[in-house]
Symmetry: C2
Subunit: 207 residues, 2 copies
């Protein structure tokens, strides 16, 4: 059934999950497609279409069961389990990301940071330890890290990838500003903040 | 014609633009849909379909004219002009964003930062000046700032928005972690880094 979920729906699953999580905290048990649509800024028909992929149809006059859909979407997004995560490059962005509470709430357990600066290597903050970039391969294997977030300059990306290929890393969130394609078994997701701004100015220019 | 461009194509325009910019720097004049597709990790049919919205069809054996498409896409994305930009919240993430070279390259001119910390207020770095958050409304009006990037905690978002509504702000890139819908004439784009991670684990879980 999963194969049939279109990629545009997948990108909205995070929004639904966020909404269900907030509603669950507010002790709400059921929500209508109209209320959900209003909260997310979509139309109700789209919400019903998206949630129908889970075989879930809101019961007339009752709505969608929040706990059940929250669990189902978490499983599909893979956030029902914890992921051991490392950040490569502990500059401003890397530091901001390690302190980002939204990651931990979703099960991303950032246990390691890597940097070349001797000022930073050796620091320990809660469960996070900052290691020498030279030990990247060794530490990732030893700590069984599954996901890395790359915030290095794009000039060192080739070196980072050469090291990562020798580890069992599964996924990369790439902030380095140079687009990378999935590689063998490694899933790579590129985040380009300049691109986010361009999408904003597209709407400003064409509204 | 613009109205007909589907939103999924718009999100790929940034990728094409990036590619054309790189190729232009490499002094390449024409590129085939196959080469373009290979660089971006799409299929060539999708590339031809997307670029057809611009009335541009790659000439057989020659390919797409890079300079011409680069200009056209820049105009559509609104990055052919410079945008006066401010960052609200000068913590780790805010500081990282002000130093992000990708913004300036795309015409986003970050001229102001806002914070509540007296340690930060008054600093000047190149063309950027850090102001007291209390002066937000005044400074945005005076400096004619068009776009703000919000990196504050979500708890203060309501206060930030109350202040921004009194200015002529056009667009917001929101990193505060609470989803906001467009409001009146203000276009709001939400960036949720936890969501980016969820999209990654979706593919890790369902590959």
């Amino acid at each position: 059934m999963l194969k049939k979920i279109p990629i545009s729906t997948v990108s909205r699953l995070s929004l639904y999950l966020k909404c269900f999580t907030e509603l669950h905290i507010e002790s709400v048990e059921y929500v209508s497609s109209e209320d959900l649509a209003e909260r997310i800024g979509l139309n109700a028909a789209q919400v019903r279409k998206d949630l129908a992929f889970f075989g879930q149809f809101g019961r007339r006059g009752v709505g969608y069961n929040i706990v059940s859909l929250k669990e189902e979407i978490s499983k599909i997004l893979g956030t029902h389990k914890s992921w051991k995560t490392a950040v490569i490059g502990m500059g401003n962005l890397g530091s901001a990301l390690t302190m980002y509470t939204g990651f931990r709430a979703k099960g991303f357990n950032i246990v390691a940071g890597f940097d070349v600066s001797t000022d930073k290597i050796g620091w320990e903050i809660d469960t996070l330890k900052i290691y020498d970039y030279q030990d990247l391969e060794k530490v990732i294997k030893k700590e069984k890290i599954e996901i890395v977030i790359i915030t290095t300059p794009k000039e060192v990306l080739a070196d980072v990838m050469a090291k990562l290929r020798k580890t069992g890393i599964k996924g990369i969130l790439n902030f380095a500003g140079k687009y990378m394609k999935n590689e063998g078994n490694i899933i790579i997701r590129n985040v380009d903040l300049g691109q986010e701004m361009e999408q904003l100015t597209f709407f400003l220019t064409n509204k």
